[in-house]
């Protein structure tokens, strides 16, 4: 039953039908929620006109640089914290203090420091995604079984080889789970940072269309961003399962 794609996505289909009918029978004001078909037409026009593409590319660049840097820096920092008590003592209080901070609160600070361009957006995304990656790498590396490290050492592995060949792969399941959280956060901060200021990106397109009262097109972009987020998560999940095929 649950394997059936049609049944699995039935609620989504019902929602789409409701969205189409509700504005048409004036259950809701069509100027506030245009029918789905109108939104689809607006989406097609945005696609043909190239607006969706050009802003999408701009967002994609910010997103990939921001997320990518947080993954690289986060893994390195998290593993180093687990590796060295000195680094742990220095970094741990900072990480713990920053963890509960609302991620979008960083955006105005980054704009102040880095200006209105891509730099502040990349930095906002990077900083926001950093903490879940650091924590997952830290916990993952610390959770690696001591006897696994000893087994490698007894086989003749050096400390450095242990780091690359035992600690990192051993921490990988946790790291990949942490990155999944980071991916979710990255979409939030991406759109939020572009909504706030800027002349490019999908978030900017949403606010531009919204302010201009072009609500069908605005909804089209909102749906696009949601769909991108959804498919990014699905694709990531697929990649994660493939990578961790050795488990269970």
């Amino acid at each position: 039953m649950r394997d059936n794609l049609f049944i699995r996505y039935l609620p989504l289909l019902l929602l789409a039908i409701l969205w189409e009918i509700a504005p048409r029978v004036h259950l809701v004001d069509p100027s506030e929620l245009p029918p789905l078909s109108t939104v689809c037409v607006a989406w097609w026009n945005l696609l043909i006109g190239g607006d969706l593409w050009s802003n999408g590319v701009s967002s994609f660049i910010n997103w990939s640089f921001g997320l990518g840097s947080s993954i690289i820096v986060g893994i390195a920092l998290g593993v180093m914290m687990a590796w060295s008590t000195t680094i742990d003592d220095i970094a741990s209080p900072l990480v713990k203090a920053l963890y509960p901070m609302p991620k979008s609160a960083l955006i105005p600070v980054m704009i102040l420091w880095l200006g209105l361009g891509a730099g502040s957006k990349i930095a906002s995304i990077g900083m926001s995604c950093l903490l879940p990656v650091i924590l997952s790498a830290y916990n993952g590396a610390r959770g690696v079984d001591q006897t696994l490290i000893w087994s490698a050492r007894a086989c003749g592995a050096s400390q450095r080889e242990v780091l690359w060949e035992v600690i990192l792969p051993g921490a990988l399941p946790e790291i990949l789970a942490g990155i999944r959280n980071a991916v979710a956060i990255s979409f939030i901060v991406l759109v939020a940072s572009e909504l706030l200021v800027g002349q490019k990106g999908l978030g900017y397109l949403i606010s531009f269309l919204g302010e201009g009262g072009v609500y069908d097109a605005m909804f089209a972009v909102v749906i696009t961003v949601s769909a991108l987020g959804f498919f990014a998560d699905r694709a990531y999940l697929y990649f994660m399962r493939r990578t961790l095929v050795w488990r269970e």
Partner: protein, 275 residues
């Protein structure tokens, strides 16, 4: 304090005889007070001898093994293998742990190959050697399985193969069959003895199973409850030197009985301490 009594230039008598000289070890947990785990343990293991360390849980027998493996620093006393003091882990001392400690992201074959890669063995040679070892532990056909797909006994055979692959002179075993069911354990005992007949090694085998110790070892060193000391060393070789039917013999039963009485008091003491 590291061992300084050995004069340099003893490579000629290398070998794999082990000497524990008055080894003490204090375990310092991150929180809580330090605990004296080992108190002046002295023991000699001759080359190609199979010695079991027998004692109640928490008596420090595994700690002694980790010190010998070079995983923990020798702070008090000295440990030497083949006349050379232990200063860190090395491929001359292979180790097998109770929890198998296989790399879960590597297949059976990749696990067995790991040590050979570390030893920089050329590829065709290490492929051949890995095949031999997988054969030796009867895991042909499981080369591409991941550890998560194997039973406990199979996992431990992979671990033994990985350790034997690099031909260590000394084999350290930390309750290797403790997590297996009784039948599997008995089969593993026979397999281990068969392997030792083919490639004799110096073995230090940690266990709290009296029968296992008597069956496998040439000598059994009984340890006291914490802090661990050597209480008595008992020769457990079968009278005629042959292990076939040893399990059924009256000599075996007598040895088990004698050792059990030695361990019993210590086990009770250990239990009381844990409260």
């Amino acid at each position: 304090m590291r061992d300084g009594s050995e004069t340099p230039g003893h490579e000629g008598m290398a070998g794999s005889g082990i000497v524990f000289g008055a080894v003490s070890h204090t375990y310092r947990p991150v929180r809580g007070r330090p605990v004296l785990a080992l108190d002046g343990v002295s023991l000699e293991v001759k080359e190609r001898e199979f010695v079991a360390l027998l004692g109640p849980s928490g008596c420090g027998k595994s700690t002694l093994l980790y010190l010998l493996g070079g995983f923990l620093p020798v702070e008090n006393g000295s440990i030497s293998v083949g006349g050379r003091p232990v200063i860190g882990p090395g491929p001359d001392r292979g180790i097998v742990f109770q929890n198998y400690s296989l790399f879960p992201w590597k297949t059976v074959k990749q696990n067995v190959l790991y040590g050979l890669e570390k030893q920089r063995m050329p590829k065709p040679e290490r492929e051949r050697r890995a095949r031999e070892l997988i054969d030796l532990v009867h895991l042909k056909g499981f080369e591409d399985s991941y550890p998560s797909q194997l039973s406990g006994g199979m996992k431990q055979r992979v671990a033994i193969a990985r350790t034997l692959a690099i031909e260590p002179e000394t084999l350290l075993m930390d309750e290797p069959f403790g997590a297996l069911d009784a039948q599997t354990r008995t089969l593993m005992h026979e397999e281990l003895l068969a392997i030792m007949r083919r490639t004799p090694k110096t073995v230090v085998f940690v266990t709290h199973d009296v029968r296992e110790a008597v069956y496998l070892a040439d000598r059994v060193a009984v340890m006291t409850a914490r802090p661990g000391r050597i209480k008595e060393i008992v020769d457990t070789r079968p009278p005629n030197g042959v292990r076939t039917d040893y399990l059924q013999s009256s000599e075996f039963a007598a040895k088990v009985d004698y050792l059990w009485n030695l361990v019993r008091d210590e086990a009770i003491r250990a239990q009381e301490e844990q409260g």
